[in-house]
């Protein structure tokens, strides 16, 4: 019995050790690929004049799909901001997903909307569309507002896909702030497609907390004052500038954030649109589209833009952040479960051999493995089986590697887009990185574990995401 326990402990400890070694190798691999991809992107686009696309009649037609649920407080301003984006062949579709507040009425009043007869082609099955509104006001001619029965974000986006007649769709959160040239930069990869069809393109999301917003435009960037938001700013830099750029280089991206992503509409429809049975509909759609292209044997790629194009408000309280991470964990589990066929399946090339296993072991299982590791550590400590010299050596090794990863991400940010221009902000970002293993990281792991509990309890809710609203300049306040 004692032997069995020893073997078990040995397997767990060795397993966790091997897991750490592989993870570190992955991080190094990601870092190297990210440098190369970012450098190449910057070199390629240094002399690009995006303005020529804005008014060109040869540019592809694009529809922005913005689902809105109880966004009455900000919807009019957000739509105004989206209507001011530079792009001629643009349509803005706002989908009111059965809001209980006065969102729809506010839009009708602000943009002089009128109900129009509209034949909805339910190519993707959705909840019923109650009405479609358009305006005769020439300044708002790009706006279409759809009122529908509540069905969740995925269902609202599917309605948007059914309604629009344009070639490409850009799905965003209605409360996001886009840079004025965001559409131009997102569309370019689709125009650059060669033998491989570009099916989707992702953009970088940045944290807008504490930033100054004037008339729906980001006017000054500041590092968030709130600790949790600041940590997320660091986390987003790491995820978007390192992780996703590296996966884009390998053409192994599995996730394009739901807050800002562009898709080839026809492929999205052929794949059945967004899945309404998951809370991770953004990741699920990308995986399904990739899987579809593989199964149809059509060469394709998913691209990524490192420019900061979309700004969003990050949760500032532990409760809301916990709900968000809980949902992300459930979304990842659901997506990987739906598409388990891909795992190590040679038919899916890199997708099956590398992307899926990485997401399974180092994204989905990470909180679980860390949590189990912690429990094992407590048990071993209780039984006096810990070699403390070795333990501290390992702990320092892991913590310092984590620091290295974060500091490198900060360096990449400074070297590329340098959004936080004050030296003080860089120092605060470094302090945030140093505190991460002791405060933020354990919190995120715990939120992930709760996500597992909720997944097994078959909880499907998104959880309410209360927002504080953006910072206005003093004179506006």
């Amino acid at each position: 019995m004692k032997d069995l326990a020893e073997i078990l402990v040995y397997i767990i400890v060795t397993g966790i050790f091997l897991y750490s070694v592989i993870l570190i190798c992955f991080y190094i691999f990601i870092g190297i690929n990210s440098i190369n991809e970012t450098r190449e992107y910057l070199n390629k686009n240094e002399i690009t004049d995006y303005r020529l696309l804005a008014a060109s009649p040869h540019a592809p037609s694009v529809s922005i799909l913005a689902p809105a649920y109880n966004e009455g407080a900000t919807i009019v301003e957000n739509v105004r901001s989206l209507l001011s984006l530079y792009y001629n062949k643009l349509e803005l579709v706002v989908i009111n997903d059965g809001s209980k507040d006065d969102s729809l009425q506010k839009l009708i009043d602000a943009y002089q909307l009128e109900k129009v007869d509209f034949y909805v082609n339910y190519r993707i099955p959705t909840k019923e569309v109650k009405a479609v509104y358009k305006t005769k006001h020439p300044a708002y001619s790009k706006l279409v507002v759809v009122d529908k029965v509540n069905g969740g974000k995925a269902d609202a986006l599917n309605v948007g896909i059914n309604i629009t007649s344009n070639d490409y769709i850009i799905c965003i959160d209605a409360d996001c702030i886009l840079e004025h040239d965001a559409i131009l930069k997102m569309v370019k990869p689709f125009l650059e497609e060669g033998d491989e069809k570009v099916i989707a393109s992702g953009g970088v999301i940045r944290i807008a907390n504490s930033c100054e917003i004037t008339n729906g435009r980001l006017t000054r960037v500041y590092l968030p004052e709130n600790y949790l938001a600041r940590m997320q700013a660091l986390e987003y830099i790491r995820a978007f500038l390192l992780g996703r750029m590296a996966w884009a280089r390998l053409d192994g991206l599995l996730l394009i954030s739901g807050a800002f992503g562009a898709f080839d509409k026809e492929i999205a429809i052929r794949c059945g649109g967004y899945n309404t049975n998951t809370v991770g509909e953004d990741m699920e759609l990308v995986v399904r589209m990739r899987r579809y292209m593989h199964e149809q044997d059509i060469p394709y790629k998913v691209t990524y833009i490192p420019d900061p194009l979309c700004w969003t408000e990050a949760p500032e309280t532990a409760t809301i952040l916990n709900r968000q991470r809980n949902r992300w964990t459930r979304g990842t589990i659901e997506t990987l479960r739906f598409h388990k066929k891909i795992f190590l399946n040679p038919r899916y090339d890199l997708l099956g051999a590398l992307s899926y296993p990485y997401w399974l072991f180092f994204e989905m299982l990470a909180p679980l493995i860390e949590f189990v590791g912690f429990i094992v550590f407590l048990l071993l400590a209780f039984w006096g089986l810990i070699n403390w010299h070795m333990f501290f050596a390992f702990l320092l090794f892991i913590i310092f590697f984590g620091y290295l990863n974060s500091i490198f991400a900060i360096y990449m940010e400074v070297f590329t887009y340098n959004q936080y221009r004050r030296r003080k902000e860089i120092i605060r970002l470094i302090w945030a990185a140093l505190s991460e293993p002791f405060f933020f990281h354990p919190f995120v792991v715990w939120a992930g574990i709760r996500g597992y509990f909720d997944f097994f309890r078959k909880r499907k809710a998104w959880g309410e995401m209360t927002r504080r609203g953006f910072t206005k300049p003093k004179e506006q306040v």
Partner: protein, 362 residues
Amino acid sequence: MTIAIQPTTVPEYTLYAYTVLFAAVILLILISTSFYLRLRKRRFMIEKNVQAFFDQWLGQMLLGEFSEEEEIEIPGELQDRRKYRVGRQYAINQLINTKKNLIGLASRNVIYLYEKLGLKKSSVSKFHSRLWYKKAKGIYELYMMEQRDLQPQIQPYTNSRNEYVRTEAQTALLAFSGFKGLVFLGTLKYPMNSWQQVKLLEQLQPLDPGHFEALPAWLASANDSVVIFALKLAEIYQQMQVKDEAIACLKHDNPKVRGQAIQTLVRIGDDATPAVLEGRYLWETEHNRTLILEALEHIANEEVLPFLERELENDDPAVKLRAARAIARNVKGGLGILQHKAAAVSEPYEKIYLHIKSEMAR
């Protein structure tokens, strides 16, 4: 147990050694970050100084107070020395941005200033670089500053293996020679993606249309992207004389070429074109069928009415809607036909009828 790597096999001191290594790398990155921030600040100061000179010069340029005889004192920050390259690059970028927004004398003054400041040397040196992105940038600067004497050297790069160098060289040719610069289409070995085509079309857009003698040859090119581009030229500049070649492209092997031919024929076709498109409908891909129906929304006639009425019965609601739109917009009494259909079969034709009616009223 045969696993080679296990915690107990890694000596403690090895882990500490790696930790120290990580700490050293972190320190190095932090020093680099600090150094880079300092460098950026210095660059900002240089750019600010250069900008001060520019503000003065630009004012003179806009007022037309600049003359070619006038000698300009070159400030220290713009001297042709390695340590001033940041200032020189900033100056080039500023001149290009300024020139994009100017025409006539003011635009010529920008070029004059560029030459007087000896910035051409910097662009030429980039053009001669072995790094593709520097070469592409050099070509860009040279054509933006209308340095036509470099055309013979740039021209061979229209067939460069690197697509960015190639695109800039092709754009340069159009910038230097207008429509005559399209001569590279005759020898192009590599494909042109849609972005490159948009860039070239936008470069041509402000120019007076030239002659298109080579258009039939381009439409018969072995390079599919050249055929697509030529079809776009025929469409935009309404080159009716290549209608037959465009119709021939409807039978091209590449569906993208066929798709562009359908779009082009909307602009250069005649009364027989709707029937020609109808004839191709059955043989086309789903995407190109959509393009045919979209084309017929603009050019359908009585001759294709039976076909459109047949498509009105199609199982796909999107096809029904497009066919209905083509009937309503082009056939005499088309809306009445739809109304009659709606009265006979209310679902879904009533909704389609109301949709089209509402669309036409707007």
